[in-house]
Each structure stands twice: as structure tokens, then as C-alpha cells.
Amino acid sequence: MISDLFRRTRPRRRVVPKLRRLLRSRVRARAWLALAPALLLALPAQAGIVFTPHLSEYSRLPRAPFVEGTLIMTQIEEIYDREGNEVPLGEPFVKAGDSTDAALFLFKYLWIGNLFRDSDVPILKTRDQFCRMIGVLGYQQNTGRIAARTRLFGIRPGSNGLGDLFGLCGIYGHEHQWGPLKFNGLLATTIKFPIGDYDQDAALNIGTNYWSYIPQFAFHAEAFGRLYVDGTFAYQFNGDNDEPSFGGLTPTRISNWRNLEINFAWKFSEHWFADIGYSFRESVGRNGYDKLTVNFEDQPLAPESACNNTNNNLGVEVLTPEVCRNPVTQQFYLSPKPGPYEDRGIEGHMLTAGIYYVYRTSSVLQLRVAQPIRGRGSQIDAEYYVCAIEPCNEQTSGGVTTPTTLFGVQEAAAVSASPYLELRFVHLWWAP
């Protein structure tokens, strides 16, 4: 079989040395293949959004069921690369201006109570328990030229539907008081059930397709009855994703994360509060990409595509017209080396600011803006086989490869540099 394949490819072998020379030219380092779609992104740090603390998020709230609806809207026009630079989405392959538009609706149901009150069960009898379930509905769509470029890879540019399910239970600590300062801690564990809609052929997915387990310590403090501080440290263990989407641009080995968040709120009256917060998320180690398959759908590729992709988008002539018109490069095929690749991990820093209106004791209406201030996204240096014939692989390429830098996509890899807007409504059942 192998020899047969070798024979069939032999007639085209004459092309290869020229291609090799061509591809090993100065453009090698320029990622000329333009495969890197730099398309994000799907809900940057979805889990980060879910767990960004709000006013009194971790205080010992009344024993009651609460419901919460949160609408999050963002138009992602910039992302962070691995150097921490803000990069317009899609550049250099499409002009800036298009975006990934995303809207998330989070439905949260929170129960606080103490099933063991008045009992003799140690620890639990005096410490309230809580459970929370978070369901997600999402809409995500790449726009304009980004969507068009996505289709070059045979990838759907967006997806909508049900997101992953978050289930959380925990226990409050006792409240401690030193003069005007009150403090309580809590311990909780969240499990993310990967039940959300997930399509390997989509550029954006509502679901993540991997499990997460998030132990969390949080605290709430109040000073002088006016200053409210809520903070948390969470460590997120992430499972693997053996079915990456977008041609393997979602990591298969997702690194664990650590989250650190703190929120300061000021009480103006019983009805009005304002807050500012800081949220930090960092991967512990590197993400791994083991199943890279992203490729142009229509092959073979004409040499013009290489010239256009490179010269037009970089704005400099790196491929000479002679090369572009060279008859030996009438057509060629590309095929990625599946991996393994690793990125440098991701990091995100975000500031939030919001106002709250408390209607009676039962309802809270909140408007909040989150602005990323620093970050680092996932990028990998992938290798593509360059072949004159199909199938394109190591043998048929004769070892000719070209490097390219690809952005990782979705929440485990991409970090948005664009702000998002959050509209939140909380209702306490049974309140007067």
C-alpha cells in the first residue's frame, strides 16, 4: 500500500523541491498560509461570566429560593494574542470591523436553607446550606467577512441553543463580627455538566464538551453597614475534550484554571447600590491540541490564494510575482499535522462596574459593564504538510511543511478584549 502510494505520487515529486525552496523562503515565519482564522471565540470565559461575583453574592442571604435571570451581550471585536496584544478579530485575513456577536441568557435557581436546623447534626445544624443550578441559553454568530472566511474551512460560523449546566452546592460559615466589620465565608463545589449544544463543525459552540469541577472558597464582608465586599478563589479542574470543534482549534487537553474575583459595593440606601469588581482567570499550565484538522475545504489551492493571503493582508510583498506565477505551483494541497501542540495558557483580567436597584425586598435589577484590561489568549504554532497530490500527508508531502500560527477558540482558549454588558434580574420568592 505504501509503495503504491509512493509510486502514484512519484510523478509529482519533481514539483516538491521547488515548493520546498519556495516554502522555506523568508515567508516561512510569516504564517503565510492564512489558515489561522483568528476567529473566536464563543463566549469568552463563559465560566468566568457565570461566577463573577455580584453584590452580596456570598453573604448569608435569607433562607429562601431565589431565581435569577442574567442577560449578557457582547460584540467581540478584539481578542488577546499570546503576547498579550489586543488583536482585531480576524486580522490580518479580514479587515477589522467585523465581530463575533454573542448573547447569553443565564437562568439561575438558588436555594438557601438549612435542612438540619434544630437537629443534632454537627456542623450542619448551625450552618445554612445552599444549592444553585445555572442553565444557559446562548446565541453566537460571526459576522460579515469573518463568517465568510469561516465557511472556507467548511465550518458553521455560529451556533445557538442550550449551554452547559452548572450545579453547585455549598455551606455557609458562621458570621463573625469585629466592631463594624462582619465576615462570613463559604465553601462550595460546582460541577459543569457538558450537556450544551456542541457541534464539531461549528466555529462557535454554546456547549463546551468537557466536564469541569470547581471547588471554591468565597467570603462576604460588610463594614459600617455600607461597604460590601465579596470575593472568591476557585480552582477549576477541567476534563479533556476528545472531540474538539472547529477542526481541532478547541483544545483537547484543557488546562486547569484558577479564578480570583473580588467585588466592592457601596450602599447608598436600601434601594440603591453601586459596585466595582475585579476578576482574574489564569490557566495552570498549557492547553494541548492533539487533533488539529482545520483546513481549507476546497482544495487544491491555487497559488494566488497564497499570494493574496499573504501580500494583501500583510501589506508587504513577501511573495514575488514570479513565484505566484510559477507554473510548478499550479496547485497544491495542505493538510495539518494533527499535533500534539501546546499553547502558553491563557490569562484574563477584567474590571466590572455596575449599579443595582433593589425593589422592595424581593427584586434586584442590575446593570453592569465588564471591561477586559489585560489578557493572554491561546495560540499554537502548527505545521501543515504541503503536497502536490492527494492525500496530503507526511509521505506525499515529502516532509515539506509550513508553519502557521493558529488561535485557539472558545472559552478554554480565547480571551476577549472587548467589553460586555450585563443586565440581571434577581427575584426572591416569598418575600413580602
Partner: protein, 505 residues
């Protein structure tokens, strides 16, 4: 598969797993909703007993809660004898007798015995069903009866009076009980901790749902509170103390301008946080050492009366003398406290006197008090004839509206055919006396809960009408909720409440 790094989950999410996952989603949702069911329903469904504050003596017959119909759990009677006036703790909304355990420790440290410290879970103990003062007046009556009866029968202590400490809703509840039951003489000292005596900002007049009764009671400016406070905020033979935040920032229920809502005019008011620079909150205020010690010190004042025979309590006597009728105490050394302006006398703000001549046509509200023992009489009302005494017929009384089911609170008017008669009533289904709340024709009775209104007219000279009793059913949601919860104890109870819905007037 793990490739060099262990992960907690190695679950490839294939299609079948997705199906399982979505099933888990539904199961989880159902479980969470189940967890929100009342604990009294959930735990029995799981074959478990609902935990209770089970610290009452075996031989103690627990009184029934007027709201739940179930025996109240609680603590007290654990031994140690009775040397002081027994203390009954009355908790607030949505909690149980267990609320008072931290406070009990301070009292025990101060020498109180378990026989002297009592508490009962009088409400639903569930945030889903807020409690109500009007609906629990009889619960307080029963717990006081039960404690006094137990100490009398099992400890041989008469305990004619008790001290009561109420917290939050427990404050207005106890005050309402003392007023409706004319029971001030049974309470030596009363401490109201963080009570909504002038309202609480979390209650609203147009509240919907099961919480309407308590919201109608306690919203700032509510007619119910006006009714409770009318005619003296510290009436009867009881001494009053209040303990509260006062800063407007410590207790989130009483921000400005309600920071002094808990105070009572004529009481020993202690705005603890404001005066001591502390920041105790609504719940922990009575748990902390300083406030608890202040309560203990205040209760130590005055005569302790555990072993005085209730029969030794003084009373008000009416005597027809040569100069006309006069009121006086029936015991040597006792005094009477009287008012003749329609308000109620109180120890703290009424001048005591040995005797009081009655003026024709005036209504006197009086009680007797013995400063030596501290015992007092119930409140009595007397009216002298203006002119010649009428003979013969008893007065009659009409109530409008004459009961029924209503969605909104009602203003109820009472009318007697005898223009000289005064009218007394109560809304707790308790026996009437002349010392029951006095009806003011200018201020119709505010009925804001499912309750029983009983009233009678009293003519000068003391002739009374037949008591008239009507039932009001306000807040259909509460009735439905109550029946829903009670169905667990009595499955034959109809699922749906079928009361007639009428528009309020």
C-alpha cells in the same frame, strides 16, 4: 485519555453521554425544586423525621400552635428550680425556638435555671410561609398557660407572672396578645428586641402572596400598628424595655427613618448600637453578650414573684359611696392606675392613686397594682350613669360587615343600640372582658387576617350585650397555603380553598 496530565474527569461526551447528561439536567432540576419544598414535607417524603427543638420535659404537654395546629417544640423545664420570674422567649418570623439558644447561654451563665427559661416554636419555621401576629395570638396564650401550669403542677411554683422577651415579629405578637387577651397582668416585664413597633421597611401595604397578613400588620403607617399602639404604647401592669439598633445601619430592617421604630413611648428604650458604638444586626443583637447582659440586668430589677399566689393579686373595686361611685384597689398597699380619656393606663406613664371618684358619663380604664409584690390586675373599664340608671334591656350590638371572605383588609364598624354603651372586642377568639380592646367609633377595626372577631357592648352600670362573633377570612392565598401545608397531616382536607372572593370595602 489523559496525556501527561491527570484530570478529574475523563468522560468523553459522546452522544449517549449527552442523553444521560440531559437526563441528569432534568433530574437535578427536579431535585433542586424538591429541596425548595417545605422541609416539613420533604423530609417525611424521604422517610426522615423533621428535626425539632426537642428539649421540653417528657411530662410537659406541649401547647398547640395556632398556625400549624401541631404541638410546639421548644426548650424549658429542664430542672434547677424556679427562684426568679420565669422567662419565655418568643422568636420572630420564619425561625424556631432554637433561635434563642445563644441568648439562653448568657442567661444560664447569669444563674438562670432551665426551669426558668422557656421558648416555643410557634410558627411555620419556614421562609415560605411567613408568620403573622394576628394568627398567633392564641399560641402565646397557650404557651404562657402551659408554662405556668407546668411550674404549678410539676414544680409547685405558682408563678403568677412571667417575663417575656420577644424578638422581631415576636415583639408585636406579644404586644398584640397582651392587648387582645387583656393579659398585661400576667407579664411582669416585657423586653422587645428589634420589634417593628412603628413598622419595618420590608413590609408593604400592597404585598401579594402568603406574606400579606404580616405585611399588612407591619408596614410603616399601617392601621394595624396604629390600632396596636393606640391609647398607650406601654399599657397595663407590665414594665417595658426595648432593645434595638438605633443607628440605622446595623439592623438592615430598620434604616433611616425607621431607626427608632422599635422604641415604645414610655418604655426603657435602649438603642444599643447607637449608644455603644456596636454594629450588631437584626438576628445577632439578642445573642451578643452586651445586649444579653443588659436584658438580664433589667429583668433582675423589681420583685421576683415565682411563689406568690395569683389569688393575692390586687384588683380594682367599684364602691358606691355617699359622694357617688369611686374606684379603688381591693387590697391594702395596692394602688390603681386609671385613665378616663379612652386610653389605657400604664405603670410607666400613669399616676397611681389610692382611689378615684367617678364622674357621670365618663369611661374609666383602670388596673390595680401592688408595688410590694409587683402583681397587677387585669384592665377593667367602668362607666358611671349620666342621670338615672336605665333599667331592663341589655344593649345589642351589630357588626358591619358581618364577616365573610375578602381579598383585602376590612374596616369593621361596631354599633350598639345604647348610645351610652362602650364596646369592647378582640380579634383572637378569646373570652371578652371590659378590659378587652376598646372600640373607637372614629377608628373602625382593621381586620387584616383570617380571624375571629368577638365584641360586646357594655352599658353604664356593667350590663353587657350578648357577645357577637363573626369570622373574617382575609388573604385567600394564606388560607390556601395553610391548607396545602396542612394536607400533609390531614389528606382529607380539600386541596383547593373554596372561599368566596369578595371585593374589599
Amino acid at each position: 485519555m489523559s496525556r501527561g496530565r491527570p484530570t478529574p474527569f475523563q468522560v468523553p461526551v459522546k452522544a449517549s453521554v449527552k442523553v444521560v447528561g440531559k437526563s441528569l439536567w432534568l433530574l437535578g432540576l427536579v431535585a433542586l425544586l424538591g429541596a425548595c419544598a417545605p422541609r416539613e414535607r420533604l423530609l417525611p417524603a424521604l422517610g426522615l423525621e423533621v428535626p425539632r427543638v426537642d428539649e421540653l420535659p417528657q411530662d410537659f404537654e406541649a401547647p398547640l400552635s395556632a398556625q400549624t395546629g401541631q404541638p410546639m417544640d421548644g426548650f424549658g423545664g429542664g430542672g434547677g428550680g424556679v427562684e426568679r420570674t420565669p422567662v419565655i422567649f418568643v422568636h420572630g418570623n420564619t425561625v424556631s425556638a432554637g433561635f434563642w439558644k445563644p441568648t439562653r447561654e448568657h442567661f444560664e451563665d447569669a444563674g438562670y435555671s432551665q426551669d426558668e427559661l422557656w421558648a416555643f416554636s410557634w410558627g411555620w419555621n419556614n421562609a415560605r410561609y411567613l408568620d403573622s401576629a394576628d394568627l398567633s395570638v392564641q399560641s402565646v396564650q397557650r404557651m404562657v398557660d402551659a408554662v405556668q401550669g407546668y411550674l404549678r403542677e410539676q414544680r409547685g411554683v405558682a408563678a403568677p407572672q412571667v417575663d417575656i422577651i420577644g424578638h422581631s415579629l415576636g415583639v408585636t405578637l406579644v404586644r398584640q396578645w397582651m392587648k387582645q387577651a387583656n393579659a398585661w397582668h400576667r407579664v411582669r416585664r416585657f423586653i422587645g428586641v428589634a420589634g417593628a413597633n412603628d413598622g419595618v421597611w420590608t413590609a408593604w401595604a400592597d404585598t401579594r402572596g402568603q406574606q400579606r397578613p404580616v405585611a399588612w400588620e407591619l408596614y410603616p403607617g399601617s392601621p394595624w400598628l396604629a390600632q396596636l399602639n393606640r391609647g398607650n404604647e406601654v399599657p397595663g401592669g407590665t414594665r417595658y424595655m426595648t432593645l434595638y439598633d438605633g443607628s440605622g445601619w446595623g439592623d438592615v430592617l430598620f434604616p433611616y427613618p425607621l431607626e427608632d421604630s422599635s422604641a415604645l413611648e414610655g418604655a426603657d428604650n435602649l438603642a444599643w448600637n447607637r449608644e455603644h458604638g456596636d454594629w450588631y444586626g437584626h438576628l445577632n443583637l439578642p445573642w451578643e453578650e452586651g445586649p444579653a447582659q443588659a436584658m438580664i440586668d433589667w429583668l433582675r430589677e423589681g420583685p421576683q414573684v415565682p411563689e406568690v399566689d395569683p389569688a393575692d393579686a390586687p384588683d380594682v373595686a367599684l364602691e358606691d359611696g355617699a359622694e357617688g361611685p369611686r374606684l379603688h384597689a381591693d387590697q391594702e398597699g395596692a394602688q390603681i392606675y386609671c385613665r378616663d380619656d379612652g386610653s389605657d393606663p400604664g405603670l410607666a406613664n400613669t399616676e397611681p392613686r389610692a382611689a378615684l371618684p367617678m364622674q357621670p358619663g365618663r369611661l374609666y380604664s383602670c388596673f390595680a397594682h401592688d408595688p410590694q409584690t409587683g402583681l397587677a390586675s387585669p384592665l377593667h373599664r367602668h362607666k358611671a350613669w349620666q342621670g338615672e340608671p336605665a333599667q331592663g334591656q341589655r344593649p345589642t350590638l351589630t357588626i358591619e360587615p358581618a364577616g365573610g371572605a375578602f381579598e383585602q383588609p376590612q374596616r369593621v364598624r361596631l354599633r350598639s343600640d345604647d348610645p351610652e354603651a362602650f364596646i369592647v372586642y378582640n380579634t383572637a377568639g378569646l373570652p371578652l372582658s371590659t378590659g378587652s380592646p376598646l372600640y373607637d367609633p372614629e377608628q373602625p377595626i382593621f381586620v387584616a387576617a383570617p380571624l375571629r372577631l368577638t365584641a360586646m357592648a357594655v352599658s353604664p352600670g356593667g350590663q353587657t350585650s350578648e357577645p357577637v362573633t363573626v369570622d373574617f377570612d382575609i388573604s385567600l392565598e394564606l388560607v390556601e397555603a395553610t391548607r396545602t401545608l396542612q394536607r400533609q397531616f390531614d389528606p382529607s382536607r380539600p386541596l383547593r380553598y373554596a372561599g368566596d372572593r369578595k371585593q374589599g370595602n
